[in-house]
Symmetry: C2
Subunit: 219 residues, 2 copies
DNA sequence: ATACAAATTTAACCATGGTTAAAATAAAAA
DNA sequence: TTTTTATTTTAACCATGGTTAAATTTGTAT
Protein backbone atom coordinates (compact mmCIF):
# COMPACT_ATOMS: atom_id res chain seq x y z
CA UNK A 1 0.00 0.00 0.00
CA UNK A 2 1.18 3.46 -0.88
CA UNK A 3 1.07 6.42 1.47
CA UNK A 4 -1.38 9.23 0.88
CA UNK A 5 1.42 11.48 -0.36
CA UNK A 6 2.60 8.94 -2.86
CA UNK A 7 -0.91 8.30 -4.13
CA UNK A 8 -1.33 12.01 -4.63
CA UNK A 9 1.92 12.32 -6.55
CA UNK A 10 0.94 9.56 -8.94
CA UNK A 11 -2.52 10.99 -9.40
CA UNK A 12 -1.16 14.47 -10.07
CA UNK A 13 1.23 13.11 -12.68
CA UNK A 14 -1.48 11.13 -14.37
CA UNK A 15 -3.80 14.09 -14.44
CA UNK A 16 -1.28 16.19 -16.34
CA UNK A 17 -2.00 14.50 -19.64
CA UNK A 18 -4.71 11.95 -18.84
CA UNK A 19 -4.16 9.52 -21.67
CA UNK A 20 -0.78 10.30 -23.17
CA UNK A 21 2.07 9.42 -20.93
CA UNK A 22 4.41 12.35 -21.55
CA UNK A 23 7.08 13.62 -19.16
CA UNK A 24 5.57 15.95 -16.58
CA UNK A 25 7.60 18.98 -15.42
CA UNK A 26 8.33 19.18 -11.72
CA UNK A 27 6.76 22.59 -11.42
CA UNK A 28 3.40 21.28 -12.56
CA UNK A 29 3.32 18.70 -9.81
CA UNK A 30 4.54 21.22 -7.26
CA UNK A 31 1.73 23.53 -8.23
CA UNK A 32 -0.87 20.78 -8.24
CA UNK A 33 0.11 19.42 -4.83
CA UNK A 34 1.01 22.76 -3.31
CA UNK A 35 4.46 21.70 -2.20
CA UNK A 36 7.94 22.97 -3.00
CA UNK A 37 9.94 21.93 -6.04
CA UNK A 38 12.48 20.45 -3.68
CA UNK A 39 9.86 18.05 -2.39
CA UNK A 40 9.10 16.98 -5.94
CA UNK A 41 12.72 16.19 -6.74
CA UNK A 42 13.05 14.11 -3.64
CA UNK A 43 9.83 12.19 -4.18
CA UNK A 44 10.68 11.67 -7.85
CA UNK A 45 13.71 9.69 -6.73
CA UNK A 46 11.75 7.71 -4.19
CA UNK A 47 9.01 6.74 -6.61
CA UNK A 48 11.48 6.04 -9.34
CA UNK A 49 13.31 3.66 -7.01
CA UNK A 50 10.02 1.93 -6.40
CA UNK A 51 9.62 1.48 -10.14
CA UNK A 52 6.58 3.73 -10.36
CA UNK A 53 8.20 6.56 -12.30
CA UNK A 54 10.84 7.07 -14.93
CA UNK A 55 12.88 9.99 -13.80
CA UNK A 56 15.79 11.77 -15.44
CA UNK A 57 17.12 14.86 -13.80
CA UNK A 58 15.86 18.08 -15.32
CA UNK A 59 13.62 16.16 -17.67
CA UNK A 60 10.51 15.67 -15.62
CA UNK A 61 8.87 12.40 -14.65
CA UNK A 62 6.76 9.81 -16.41
CA UNK A 63 4.61 7.07 -15.02
CA UNK A 64 5.74 3.52 -15.62
CA UNK A 65 3.04 0.97 -16.39
CA UNK A 66 3.11 0.06 -12.73
CA UNK A 67 2.84 3.71 -11.70
CA UNK A 68 -0.06 4.29 -14.04
CA UNK A 69 -1.82 1.29 -12.59
CA UNK A 70 -1.67 2.86 -9.14
CA UNK A 71 -2.69 6.27 -10.45
CA UNK A 72 -5.74 4.74 -12.09
CA UNK A 73 -6.70 3.02 -8.87
CA UNK A 74 -6.70 6.34 -7.04
CA UNK A 75 -8.65 8.01 -9.82
CA UNK A 76 -11.15 5.16 -9.82
CA UNK A 77 -11.70 5.62 -6.11
CA UNK A 78 -12.01 9.38 -6.45
CA UNK A 79 -14.54 9.29 -9.25
CA UNK A 80 -16.65 6.53 -7.77
CA UNK A 81 -16.80 8.43 -4.50
CA UNK A 82 -17.91 11.59 -6.28
CA UNK A 83 -20.70 9.76 -8.03
CA UNK A 84 -21.69 7.97 -4.85
CA UNK A 85 -21.80 11.14 -2.79
CA UNK A 86 -23.99 12.88 -5.34
CA UNK A 87 -26.29 9.98 -6.14
CA UNK A 88 -26.71 8.57 -2.69
CA UNK A 89 -26.16 11.39 -0.23
CA UNK A 90 -27.27 14.26 -2.40
CA UNK A 91 -24.12 16.32 -2.28
CA UNK A 92 -23.66 18.97 -4.92
CA UNK A 93 -21.16 19.44 -7.71
CA UNK A 94 -19.34 21.97 -5.59
CA UNK A 95 -19.17 19.75 -2.53
CA UNK A 96 -17.97 16.38 -3.75
CA UNK A 97 -14.41 17.02 -4.82
CA UNK A 98 -12.93 17.83 -1.45
CA UNK A 99 -14.71 14.97 0.26
CA UNK A 100 -13.63 12.49 -2.41
CA UNK A 101 -10.09 13.80 -2.16
CA UNK A 102 -9.96 12.49 1.39
CA UNK A 103 -12.03 9.34 1.07
CA UNK A 104 -10.07 8.08 -1.94
CA UNK A 105 -7.13 7.27 0.33
CA UNK A 106 -9.14 5.34 2.89
CA UNK A 107 -11.07 2.99 0.70
CA UNK A 108 -10.12 -0.64 0.26
CA UNK A 109 -10.32 -2.43 -3.05
CA UNK A 110 -13.07 -4.51 -1.49
CA UNK A 111 -15.17 -1.52 -0.55
CA UNK A 112 -14.71 0.37 -3.79
CA UNK A 113 -15.83 -2.67 -5.73
CA UNK A 114 -18.96 -2.88 -3.58
CA UNK A 115 -19.65 0.76 -4.34
CA UNK A 116 -19.00 0.20 -8.03
CA UNK A 117 -21.54 -2.59 -8.09
CA UNK A 118 -24.02 -0.59 -6.04
CA UNK A 119 -23.81 2.22 -8.57
CA UNK A 120 -24.27 -0.17 -11.48
CA UNK A 121 -20.69 -0.12 -12.77
CA UNK A 122 -20.89 3.45 -14.05
CA UNK A 123 -18.54 4.56 -16.82
CA UNK A 124 -18.50 8.28 -16.07
CA UNK A 125 -18.47 10.39 -12.94
CA UNK A 126 -20.65 13.44 -12.25
CA UNK A 127 -18.22 15.71 -14.09
CA UNK A 128 -18.22 13.50 -17.17
CA UNK A 129 -14.81 12.02 -16.40
CA UNK A 130 -14.25 8.37 -17.23
CA UNK A 131 -14.09 5.87 -14.37
CA UNK A 132 -11.48 3.11 -14.69
CA UNK A 133 -12.95 -0.33 -14.09
CA UNK A 134 -11.56 -2.74 -11.49
CA UNK A 135 -8.85 -3.75 -13.94
CA UNK A 136 -7.84 -0.18 -14.59
CA UNK A 137 -9.45 -0.09 -18.01
CA UNK A 138 -11.03 3.18 -19.07
CA UNK A 139 -14.27 3.30 -21.04
CA UNK A 140 -14.19 4.52 -24.59
CA UNK A 141 -14.14 8.30 -24.57
CA UNK A 142 -16.75 10.29 -26.44
CA UNK A 143 -15.29 12.79 -28.84
CA UNK A 144 -15.36 16.18 -27.19
CA UNK A 145 -13.79 19.57 -27.68
CA UNK A 146 -12.94 22.37 -25.35
CA UNK A 147 -15.55 25.06 -25.29
CA UNK A 148 -12.78 27.52 -26.04
CA UNK A 149 -12.42 25.83 -29.42
CA UNK A 150 -16.08 25.87 -30.36
CA UNK A 151 -17.44 27.56 -33.46
CA UNK A 152 -19.62 30.61 -33.10
CA UNK A 153 -23.18 29.98 -34.17
CA UNK A 154 -23.24 26.30 -33.32
CA UNK A 155 -25.02 24.58 -30.48
CA UNK A 156 -23.30 22.03 -28.24
CA UNK A 157 -24.03 19.79 -25.30
CA UNK A 158 -21.86 19.90 -22.16
CA UNK A 159 -19.98 16.60 -21.95
CA UNK A 160 -17.44 17.18 -19.21
CA UNK A 161 -16.25 19.83 -16.79
CA UNK A 162 -13.00 20.03 -14.93
CA UNK A 163 -13.32 18.90 -11.35
CA UNK A 164 -11.43 20.43 -8.47
CA UNK A 165 -12.39 24.06 -8.16
CA UNK A 166 -15.46 24.30 -5.96
CA UNK A 167 -15.89 28.01 -6.71
CA UNK A 168 -16.14 27.20 -10.39
CA UNK A 169 -18.54 24.34 -9.74
CA UNK A 170 -20.71 26.60 -7.65
CA UNK A 171 -20.76 29.20 -10.40
CA UNK A 172 -21.64 26.68 -13.11
CA UNK A 173 -24.42 25.31 -10.95
CA UNK A 174 -25.76 28.76 -10.24
CA UNK A 175 -26.06 29.73 -13.88
CA UNK A 176 -27.52 26.31 -14.67
CA UNK A 177 -24.68 24.56 -16.48
CA UNK A 178 -24.73 20.84 -15.95
CA UNK A 179 -23.81 17.74 -17.90
CA UNK A 180 -25.87 17.63 -21.12
CA UNK A 181 -26.93 21.25 -20.85
CA UNK A 182 -27.31 22.71 -24.38
CA UNK A 183 -25.28 25.79 -25.08
CA UNK A 184 -25.20 27.93 -28.19
CA UNK A 185 -22.02 29.86 -28.94
CA UNK A 186 -23.00 33.40 -29.89
CA UNK A 187 -19.73 35.24 -30.16
CA UNK A 188 -16.07 34.66 -29.36
CA UNK A 189 -13.98 37.59 -28.17
CA UNK A 190 -10.36 37.26 -29.10
CA UNK A 191 -9.02 40.05 -26.87
CA UNK A 192 -9.74 38.13 -23.64
CA UNK A 193 -10.86 34.77 -25.03
CA UNK A 194 -14.22 35.06 -23.36
CA UNK A 195 -17.28 33.67 -25.11
CA UNK A 196 -20.83 34.90 -25.23
CA UNK A 197 -23.31 32.04 -25.05
CA UNK A 198 -27.00 31.37 -24.92
CA UNK A 199 -28.39 28.80 -22.58
CA UNK A 200 -31.97 28.09 -21.60
CA UNK A 201 -33.03 31.43 -23.01
CA UNK A 202 -30.42 33.46 -21.14
CA UNK A 203 -27.17 34.99 -22.29
CA UNK A 204 -23.91 34.66 -20.39
CA UNK A 205 -20.42 35.91 -20.95
CA UNK A 206 -18.09 33.10 -19.96
CA UNK A 207 -14.49 34.01 -19.17
CA UNK A 208 -11.44 32.25 -20.60
CA UNK A 209 -11.00 30.44 -17.26
CA UNK A 210 -14.47 29.02 -17.56
CA UNK A 211 -14.51 28.02 -21.23
CA UNK A 212 -11.17 26.34 -20.79
CA UNK A 213 -12.63 24.01 -18.21
CA UNK A 214 -15.68 22.83 -20.10
CA UNK A 215 -15.74 20.20 -22.82
CA UNK A 216 -18.67 19.85 -25.15
CA UNK A 217 -19.91 17.51 -27.86
CA UNK A 218 -22.10 18.15 -30.85
CA UNK A 219 -25.75 17.97 -29.86
CA UNK B 1 -7.93 19.10 12.90
CA UNK B 2 -6.14 16.27 14.65
CA UNK B 3 -3.88 13.77 12.93
CA UNK B 4 -5.00 10.19 12.47
CA UNK B 5 -2.65 9.05 15.24
CA UNK B 6 -4.01 11.57 17.69
CA UNK B 7 -7.59 10.67 16.87
CA UNK B 8 -6.77 7.05 17.49
CA UNK B 9 -5.16 7.79 20.85
CA UNK B 10 -8.19 9.70 22.06
CA UNK B 11 -10.54 7.02 20.81
CA UNK B 12 -8.53 4.27 22.48
CA UNK B 13 -8.56 6.13 25.77
CA UNK B 14 -12.28 6.75 25.59
CA UNK B 15 -12.97 3.13 24.80
CA UNK B 16 -11.25 1.96 27.96
CA UNK B 17 -14.13 2.86 30.17
CA UNK B 18 -16.76 4.25 27.81
CA UNK B 19 -18.72 6.41 30.21
CA UNK B 20 -16.62 6.81 33.32
CA UNK B 21 -13.62 8.95 32.81
CA UNK B 22 -11.03 7.10 34.86
CA UNK B 23 -7.26 7.20 34.36
CA UNK B 24 -6.19 4.76 31.67
CA UNK B 25 -2.90 2.88 32.07
CA UNK B 26 -0.35 3.39 29.33
CA UNK B 27 -0.09 -0.31 28.66
CA UNK B 28 -3.76 -0.53 27.75
CA UNK B 29 -3.37 2.11 25.07
CA UNK B 30 -0.16 0.53 23.82
CA UNK B 31 -1.95 -2.74 23.46
CA UNK B 32 -4.97 -1.22 21.80
CA UNK B 33 -2.98 0.77 19.25
CA UNK B 34 -0.24 -1.80 18.81
CA UNK B 35 2.59 0.61 19.52
CA UNK B 36 5.32 0.67 22.16
CA UNK B 37 4.88 2.06 25.65
CA UNK B 38 7.48 4.63 24.78
CA UNK B 39 5.25 5.99 22.05
CA UNK B 40 2.43 6.30 24.57
CA UNK B 41 4.50 8.31 27.02
CA UNK B 42 5.56 10.70 24.32
CA UNK B 43 2.09 11.17 22.91
CA UNK B 44 0.65 11.59 26.40
CA UNK B 45 2.81 14.68 26.78
CA UNK B 46 1.87 16.01 23.39
CA UNK B 47 -1.86 15.61 23.92
CA UNK B 48 -1.63 16.88 27.44
CA UNK B 49 0.07 20.03 26.13
CA UNK B 50 -2.79 20.44 23.72
CA UNK B 51 -5.21 20.28 26.63
CA UNK B 52 -6.81 17.04 25.50
CA UNK B 53 -5.50 14.86 28.32
CA UNK B 54 -4.66 15.11 31.98
CA UNK B 55 -1.39 13.34 32.40
CA UNK B 56 0.67 12.64 35.48
CA UNK B 57 3.71 10.47 35.12
CA UNK B 58 3.17 6.86 36.13
CA UNK B 59 -0.49 7.53 36.76
CA UNK B 60 -1.99 7.02 33.35
CA UNK B 61 -4.00 9.49 31.32
CA UNK B 62 -7.50 10.87 31.44
CA UNK B 63 -9.47 12.71 28.82
CA UNK B 64 -10.25 16.33 29.52
CA UNK B 65 -13.68 17.56 28.47
CA UNK B 66 -12.08 18.84 25.30
CA UNK B 67 -10.38 15.51 24.71
CA UNK B 68 -13.58 13.60 25.26
CA UNK B 69 -15.33 15.85 22.78
CA UNK B 70 -12.83 14.84 20.11
CA UNK B 71 -12.99 11.18 21.07
CA UNK B 72 -16.76 11.24 20.72
CA UNK B 73 -16.48 12.80 17.30
CA UNK B 74 -14.27 9.96 16.11
CA UNK B 75 -16.56 7.38 17.64
CA UNK B 76 -19.57 9.05 16.05
CA UNK B 77 -17.91 8.82 12.65
CA UNK B 78 -16.88 5.21 13.21
CA UNK B 79 -20.30 4.03 14.26
CA UNK B 80 -22.21 5.92 11.61
CA UNK B 81 -19.91 4.48 8.97
CA UNK B 82 -20.49 0.97 10.25
CA UNK B 83 -24.22 1.39 10.08
CA UNK B 84 -24.01 3.00 6.68
CA UNK B 85 -21.83 0.28 5.23
CA UNK B 86 -24.17 -2.44 6.45
CA UNK B 87 -27.44 -0.72 5.62
CA UNK B 88 -26.50 0.80 2.31
CA UNK B 89 -23.74 -1.30 0.83
CA UNK B 90 -24.65 -4.60 2.42
CA UNK B 91 -21.38 -5.29 4.18
CA UNK B 92 -21.39 -7.85 6.96
CA UNK B 93 -20.75 -7.62 10.68
CA UNK B 94 -17.29 -9.03 10.10
CA UNK B 95 -16.41 -6.59 7.35
CA UNK B 96 -17.40 -3.18 8.62
CA UNK B 97 -14.99 -2.53 11.44
CA UNK B 98 -11.79 -2.34 9.44
CA UNK B 99 -13.35 -0.20 6.75
CA UNK B 100 -14.86 2.20 9.28
CA UNK B 101 -11.53 2.36 11.06
CA UNK B 102 -10.06 4.01 7.97
CA UNK B 103 -13.01 6.09 6.82
CA UNK B 104 -13.54 7.64 10.24
CA UNK B 105 -10.43 9.76 9.75
CA UNK B 106 -11.37 11.05 6.32
CA UNK B 107 -14.88 12.24 6.93
CA UNK B 108 -15.76 15.88 7.38
CA UNK B 109 -18.30 17.09 9.89
CA UNK B 110 -20.40 18.14 6.92
CA UNK B 111 -20.38 14.69 5.35
CA UNK B 112 -20.99 12.75 8.55
CA UNK B 113 -24.01 14.92 9.28
CA UNK B 114 -25.39 14.17 5.81
CA UNK B 115 -24.93 10.48 6.51
CA UNK B 116 -26.55 10.82 9.90
CA UNK B 117 -29.59 12.43 8.33
CA UNK B 118 -29.68 9.86 5.52
CA UNK B 119 -29.75 7.09 8.11
CA UNK B 120 -32.52 8.78 10.06
CA UNK B 121 -30.42 9.95 13.01
CA UNK B 122 -29.89 6.46 14.40
CA UNK B 123 -29.08 6.05 18.07
CA UNK B 124 -27.26 2.70 17.88
CA UNK B 125 -24.83 1.13 15.48
CA UNK B 126 -24.98 -2.44 14.12
CA UNK B 127 -23.23 -3.79 17.20
CA UNK B 128 -25.65 -2.07 19.55
CA UNK B 129 -23.18 0.65 20.49
CA UNK B 130 -24.57 4.12 21.08
CA UNK B 131 -23.92 6.79 18.45
CA UNK B 132 -23.13 10.27 19.77
CA UNK B 133 -25.25 12.94 18.10
CA UNK B 134 -23.75 15.98 16.37
CA UNK B 135 -23.32 17.66 19.72
CA UNK B 136 -21.52 14.70 21.21
CA UNK B 137 -24.51 13.63 23.27
CA UNK B 138 -25.03 9.90 23.71
CA UNK B 139 -28.50 8.35 23.72
CA UNK B 140 -29.82 6.87 26.90
CA UNK B 141 -28.33 3.44 27.34
CA UNK B 142 -30.57 0.42 27.79
CA UNK B 143 -29.74 -1.58 30.87
CA UNK B 144 -27.65 -4.52 29.80
CA UNK B 145 -25.41 -7.08 31.41
CA UNK B 146 -22.49 -9.07 30.21
CA UNK B 147 -23.43 -12.54 29.12
CA UNK B 148 -20.77 -13.81 31.49
CA UNK B 149 -22.89 -12.47 34.34
CA UNK B 150 -26.18 -14.02 33.24
CA UNK B 151 -28.18 -16.41 35.35
CA UNK B 152 -28.51 -20.01 34.29
CA UNK B 153 -32.04 -20.90 33.27
CA UNK B 154 -33.03 -17.46 32.09
CA UNK B 155 -33.56 -16.25 28.56
CA UNK B 156 -32.05 -13.02 27.27
CA UNK B 157 -31.93 -10.92 24.13
CA UNK B 158 -28.59 -9.85 22.61
CA UNK B 159 -28.29 -6.11 23.02
CA UNK B 160 -24.71 -5.38 22.09
CA UNK B 161 -21.54 -7.09 20.96
CA UNK B 162 -18.01 -5.85 21.09
CA UNK B 163 -16.83 -4.55 17.77
CA UNK B 164 -13.32 -4.94 16.47
CA UNK B 165 -12.51 -8.60 16.12
CA UNK B 166 -13.62 -9.73 12.71
CA UNK B 167 -12.95 -13.39 13.54
CA UNK B 168 -15.36 -13.14 16.43
CA UNK B 169 -17.94 -11.35 14.31
CA UNK B 170 -17.68 -14.04 11.68
CA UNK B 171 -18.14 -16.73 14.31
CA UNK B 172 -21.16 -15.05 15.83
CA UNK B 173 -22.71 -14.62 12.41
CA UNK B 174 -22.04 -18.21 11.53
CA UNK B 175 -23.80 -19.61 14.56
CA UNK B 176 -26.62 -17.10 14.07
CA UNK B 177 -26.05 -14.62 16.87
CA UNK B 178 -27.23 -11.16 15.96
CA UNK B 179 -28.70 -8.19 17.75
CA UNK B 180 -31.98 -9.22 19.40
CA UNK B 181 -31.30 -12.90 19.05
CA UNK B 182 -32.86 -14.75 22.00
CA UNK B 183 -30.50 -16.89 23.99
CA UNK B 184 -31.24 -19.14 26.92
CA UNK B 185 -28.48 -19.79 29.42
CA UNK B 186 -28.36 -23.51 30.13
CA UNK B 187 -25.30 -23.97 32.27
CA UNK B 188 -22.30 -21.96 33.40
CA UNK B 189 -18.99 -23.72 33.82
CA UNK B 190 -16.81 -22.16 36.45
CA UNK B 191 -13.59 -23.93 35.57
CA UNK B 192 -13.18 -22.12 32.25
CA UNK B 193 -16.04 -19.62 32.44
CA UNK B 194 -17.62 -20.99 29.32
CA UNK B 195 -21.40 -21.07 29.03
CA UNK B 196 -23.73 -23.57 27.47
CA UNK B 197 -26.60 -21.86 25.70
CA UNK B 198 -29.61 -22.64 23.62
CA UNK B 199 -30.44 -20.58 20.60
CA UNK B 200 -32.96 -21.19 17.84
CA UNK B 201 -33.23 -24.79 18.91
CA UNK B 202 -29.51 -25.45 18.89
CA UNK B 203 -27.03 -25.76 21.72
CA UNK B 204 -23.69 -24.00 21.76
CA UNK B 205 -20.80 -23.88 24.16
CA UNK B 206 -19.58 -20.30 24.22
CA UNK B 207 -16.06 -19.67 25.51
CA UNK B 208 -15.14 -17.05 28.07
CA UNK B 209 -13.75 -14.87 25.30
CA UNK B 210 -17.11 -14.92 23.58
CA UNK B 211 -19.41 -14.41 26.55
CA UNK B 212 -17.26 -11.57 27.72
CA UNK B 213 -17.91 -9.70 24.50
CA UNK B 214 -21.68 -9.98 24.40
CA UNK B 215 -24.14 -7.89 26.36
CA UNK B 216 -27.73 -8.92 26.80
CA UNK B 217 -30.98 -7.55 28.18
CA UNK B 218 -33.97 -9.30 29.65
CA UNK B 219 -36.31 -10.42 26.91
C1' DA C 1 11.84 -2.42 55.45
C1' DT C 2 13.86 -4.36 51.63
C1' DA C 3 14.25 -6.59 47.51
C1' DC C 4 12.30 -7.91 43.34
C1' DA C 5 9.18 -7.61 39.43
C1' DA C 6 6.35 -5.00 36.55
C1' DA C 7 5.20 -0.82 34.43
C1' DT C 8 6.62 3.52 32.80
C1' DT C 9 9.65 7.00 31.24
C1' DT C 10 13.74 8.76 29.12
C1' DA C 11 17.34 8.79 25.72
C1' DA C 12 19.09 7.99 21.41
C1' DC C 13 17.77 6.82 17.12
C1' DC C 14 15.10 6.32 12.49
C1' DA C 15 11.90 7.08 8.24
C1' DT C 16 8.75 10.07 6.08
C1' DG C 17 7.58 14.09 3.89
C1' DG C 18 7.94 18.50 4.27
C1' DT C 19 10.77 23.30 4.41
C1' DT C 20 14.34 27.24 2.79
C1' DA C 21 18.52 28.71 0.66
C1' DA C 22 22.25 27.91 -2.36
C1' DA C 23 24.11 25.59 -6.43
C1' DA C 24 23.62 23.72 -10.89
C1' DT C 25 21.46 23.14 -15.22
C1' DA C 26 18.56 24.32 -19.14
C1' DA C 27 16.24 27.67 -21.90
C1' DA C 28 15.76 32.20 -23.81
C1' DA C 29 17.45 36.62 -25.15
C1' DA C 30 20.93 39.67 -26.54
C1' DT D 1 27.96 32.72 -28.60
C1' DT D 2 27.41 34.71 -24.43
C1' DT D 3 24.58 36.32 -20.91
C1' DT D 4 20.54 36.38 -18.33
C1' DT D 5 16.55 34.18 -16.52
C1' DA D 6 13.87 30.38 -15.13
C1' DT D 7 13.71 25.78 -13.54
C1' DT D 8 15.43 22.05 -11.06
C1' DT D 9 18.36 19.87 -7.81
C1' DT D 10 21.06 19.52 -3.71
C1' DA D 11 22.11 20.43 1.05
C1' DA D 12 20.93 21.31 5.55
C1' DC D 13 17.26 21.41 8.38
C1' DC D 14 12.62 20.35 10.89
C1' DA D 15 8.23 17.98 12.91
C1' DT D 16 5.79 13.83 13.44
C1' DG D 17 5.26 9.44 15.14
C1' DG D 18 7.38 5.56 15.52
C1' DT D 19 11.44 2.21 17.40
C1' DT D 20 14.81 -0.25 21.05
C1' DA D 21 17.47 -0.22 25.17
C1' DA D 22 18.49 1.66 29.54
C1' DA D 23 16.96 4.07 33.66
C1' DT D 24 13.49 4.97 36.86
C1' DT D 25 9.36 4.54 39.48
C1' DT D 26 5.73 1.91 41.56
C1' DG D 27 3.70 -2.02 43.62
C1' DT D 28 4.20 -6.59 45.76
C1' DA D 29 6.26 -10.06 48.45
C1' DT D 30 9.22 -11.61 51.68
Amino acid sequence: MLTISKENYLKAIYKHREGENLPVPASYIADELQVSNAAISKMAKTLSNKGLLEYQKHKGVRLTDEGEKFALKVIRRHRLWELFLINVLGLTWAEVHDEAEKLEHSTSEFLINKMDKFLGFPKFDPHGSPIPDRNGKLPELPSVLKMSECEAGKTYRVARVQDGDSQLMKYLTRIGINLNTEITILEKFSFDHSINVEMKGHHYLLSEKVVDRIWVADE
